[in-house]
Symmetry: C2
Subunit: 519 residues, 2 copies
């Protein structure tokens, strides 16, 4: 799940009460029973997740790990009998990047191996370096002046914004009935967005300061940078924003650190105790192939009239680099792949074509899905639509970690609410009951929503997504909850099957207007 | 806090209802008020903790870090005006050991830096090595046979007994009123100790198997061992049992690993995927000085008749090696040091002499305190007592992490219960109210108890001691709770002052019998 777009899309929908009584939605209960049997009793979702995580490794956009995952998923889906299975370029992304060595330790006043990883798309140290460190503290650009002339050949230490706290609340939680009930209601109107605007302004200011700092460190000839974005107990968060463009300006080697290790260095420096750090990092850029890719495969439709229509399901296959992206988002990919595997295994004959997409480069701005939509359905900038736009019955996305499905976001589409309510009924005893009219953001269904296509994301139990896994070095296979993923797989398979079988495509919202050109 | 003795001492006391009405215990309320004012408003406990943790570093028995801590504490207490401040050898411990480099990474099928640290007292790899790995799975000695001939020049991977689980309970907690009330009652009798006996037998069997495995790995010429004792999210536990004796048999280089990293290697190997690991560890043994030490300092008594009597307070200053031993037990040392600092700052003139001891080598079996008691008070093996035995008014210990004091264990001493109840009254509004008749074990007050001296450990809120800090790589300064340590400091200072002022020494239990020689 991508992070920067949170603020922009987190506004709930405030429209009033829903839809008229509609004709009863037909659900093929026998098929749902088969899907449940296959998905709950002969699941392969954890095996798929293992190949996506442990075997492929970290799957940063453009990395060798992502390439391994592309190749394995494409082949695996072909083996399951899907057709048109391909690794599908969507356009130019930027440079590939992999870590080939990562080592950072305090070597004075005593030895201490530290926990950290090179920041994505930063260079390595070109061999081991041992340097004194300098702590840079700045809240404004003017604060930086005093460091001029102080940084040459030093390792620069930046401050820790968020210190680890002892946790008296559980890392992981599930939605309570009360919380789900509240979600089922339309979001309260938010007349004053001042808070968000302020937060966005503060965020932009921090970003601008960080850019200035990076320029200073480079100009002054610092050797490297140690920084941290938070975490605790050996968990650290990795960040977006590093330059992946082929023509990006050079940056210094930089390691994102476990806060405890960064804080120890800071406390020692502030007490006037000389500190020396050793770094030995090696990273590899590849620039032969700057394209980004999605992995696509299909179960062909069987109805003469409807087989040219498509139901899509998807999740992003790329991840951050400090772990194996298990909950963000091997989980979603494994569930989506398992859903199509189940449909093949039960020999479903969908009327419409079912197409799975494992999106690339989501973490850098939903690039894979946005460009796929632009290339195939229409451009949200102009709202010029392509012929296939008319043929998409619906898109289903999963990208909120490993938690089981508790319902679905109708994304402001009143027409789908009674349909999804009916589709969820067979899963009430598995905890999935809620259809919320609200929007949710941060991931690939937005690409479809942006051109007026019915794209939806499921509601999932949060588990430890926000505390321990999302964009951290601890987003590993251990964090996957097998029972949750099985449940999600059968629900997704059912939704996709239902969408492929119903007489009509899913209802759509009114088409968005193309943005006005700026004067 | 030491670990191996848990099972042996965890039995509660089952004697019936307590003590007769006694003469009212005098408490100098004006002095308590001064102690609170100094300890709560001008605390130095976190500064002391900083020097013990970040500045000294890990303080494994015999290490350079422990030596730094010895020197700093001895000097600091002398600067505060304590007398007879000394680094006091207690006898022969064994070899010193420090980590000079620690690096372990998976280098195939792709690169992944792993979290781990050399097991204490293991040798290094003598430069970087890159090796294939072999997973050894054994529940009985016979299971080991199939690995003969398979291990030469390989890095051996042992199994993970305790896999990380997603935590739906908080890492940290405090005692509830209900729990404290239950503790205040005598422990329920435990007629059947079968469970504990079984656990002990199983523990011994695992230990024996582990010894056999280590022998096999060595005989077969394995290159190194990767093992894990549990933990999660980048937290890993370090273990006792490595040989520190100067004449210990050689062992292989061994790294204790974060379970997630160990499990990834295991899953890959079990899936038939070739895995290569790079290790580069360097450890340093020192054998020039095999002695162990305690740090001792005193506030001299002022009462002509009583100044030859002594009230002691203490905590162990050694730690495990993968972190800075913040909660185990820089916290206890910082509180004890702060207690004597407070008493000096308020110019307390204790009738009896107050003596602080920062014990060495606790983690390997309470060596520092046991030998101090044996050298100064008496030998529990013979119950031959030395003259000073009669002069000890009481001993107070703190070694259950960073949590505030909620009360005290009377350790089966009925006579002290009404006294401690009275002494706690000024701290009721700070959460310390409970006197339990029960025993607690695992740390240095046992050394005193073993020769019939009144030695006590306080009840502390557990916080995240068992989940995150006790014997882990994450027992760092961040885990210290300043407010809790301040509270503990003023309570300890008060208890020690009260014990130094009262007319009588603290009541004692009946002397233990010397163990019968085995026939």
């Amino acid at each position: 799940m991508q992070k920067l777009v949170y603020l922009a899309v987190a506004y709930g929908l405030s429209t009033a009460a829903p839809a008229l009584a509609q004709q009863a939605e037909k659900v093929d209960q026998a098929m749902i029973a088969k899907i449940k049997d296959e998905g709950l009793n002969r699941s392969q979702v954890m095996k798929t997740a293992f190949y996506l995580t442990d075997v492929s490794g970290p799957r940063l956009a453009g990395s060798e790990g992502l390439k391994r995952a592309h190749e394995w998923t494409q082949k695996q889906m072909a083996q399951w009998g899907l057709v048109n299975s391909k690794i599908d370029p969507w356009g130019t992304f930027g440079r590939g990047w992999d870590i080939e060595k990562s080592y950072v330790a305090m070597t004075a006043p005593y030895y201490h191996n530290m926990i950290g990883a090179p920041k994505a798309w930063t260079p390595g140290t070109n061999g081991a370096i041992k340097k004194q460190i300098v702590l840079v503290k700045a809240t404004t650009e003017a604060d930086l002046d005093k460091y001029k002339g102080q940084l040459r050949d030093k390792i620069v230490l930046t401050e820790v914004a968020s210190e680890p706290k002892t946790t008296f609340a559980a890392d992981a939680k599930r939605y309570t009935d009360e919380e789900l009930l509240k979600m089922a209601a339309p979001a309260e109107a938010r007349p004053a967005r001042q808070g968000n605007d302020d937060a966005m302004a503060a965020y932009r200011a921090r970003l601008a300061l960080r850019t200035k700092m990076a320029e200073l460190f480079m100009q002054e000839g610092a050797a490297a940078v140690l920084s941290t974005r938070g975490g605790s107990h050996g968990t650290f968060f990795t960040s977006n924003g590093a330059p992946y463009a082929a023509d990006a300006k050079p940056v210094l080697p930089e390691i994102e650190m476990a806060p405890e290790d960064q804080l120890r260095l800071i406390r020692l420096v502030e007490a006037g105790i000389p500190v020396e750090v050793e770094m030995d990092t090696k990273t590899k850029f590849q620039t032969q192939d700057l394209r980004g890719y999605n992995v696509i495969a299909e179960i062909p439709g069987t109805d003469k009239k409807l087989k040219n229509e498509v139901v899509m399901l998807g999740a992003h296959i790329d991840s951050w680099h400090a772990a194996t992206g298990a909950t963000d988002n091997a989980a979603g990919c494994a569930v989506m792949m398992e859903a199509v595997r189940i449909l093949k295994a039960v020999d479903a004959k969908p009327r419409r074509t079912i197409r799975i997409a494992l999106w690339g480069e989501e973490e850098q701005g939903l690039h894979g899905s946005r460009n796929y939509v632009k290339n195939n359905f229409g451009d949200p900038a102009t709202m010029k639509l392509l012929p296939a736009h008319e043929k998409l019955a619906g898109y289903f996305n999963l990208d909120n970690g490993s938690g089981k499905i508790r319902g679905i976001y109708a994304q402001g589409n009143e027409g789908v609410q009674p349909i999804f309510t009916e589709w969820l009924k067979p899963f009430a005893d598995m905890g999935a009951t809620t259809v919320t009219p609200r929007n949710t953001g941060g991931t690939d269904h937005l690409a479809f929503d942006a051109v007026g296509l019915p794209g939806f994301q499921f509601i999932q139990d949060g588990l430890d997504y926000n505390t321990r896994t999302h964009h951290t070095n601890q987003d590993t296979y251990e964090r996957l909850q097998a029972d949750d993923l099985k449940q999600a797989s059968v629900i997704v398979a059912s939704f996709v099957y239902n969408a492929a079988m119903r007489d009509q495509k899913l209802p759509r919202k009114a088409l968005p207007q193309a943005p006005q050109p700026k004067s």
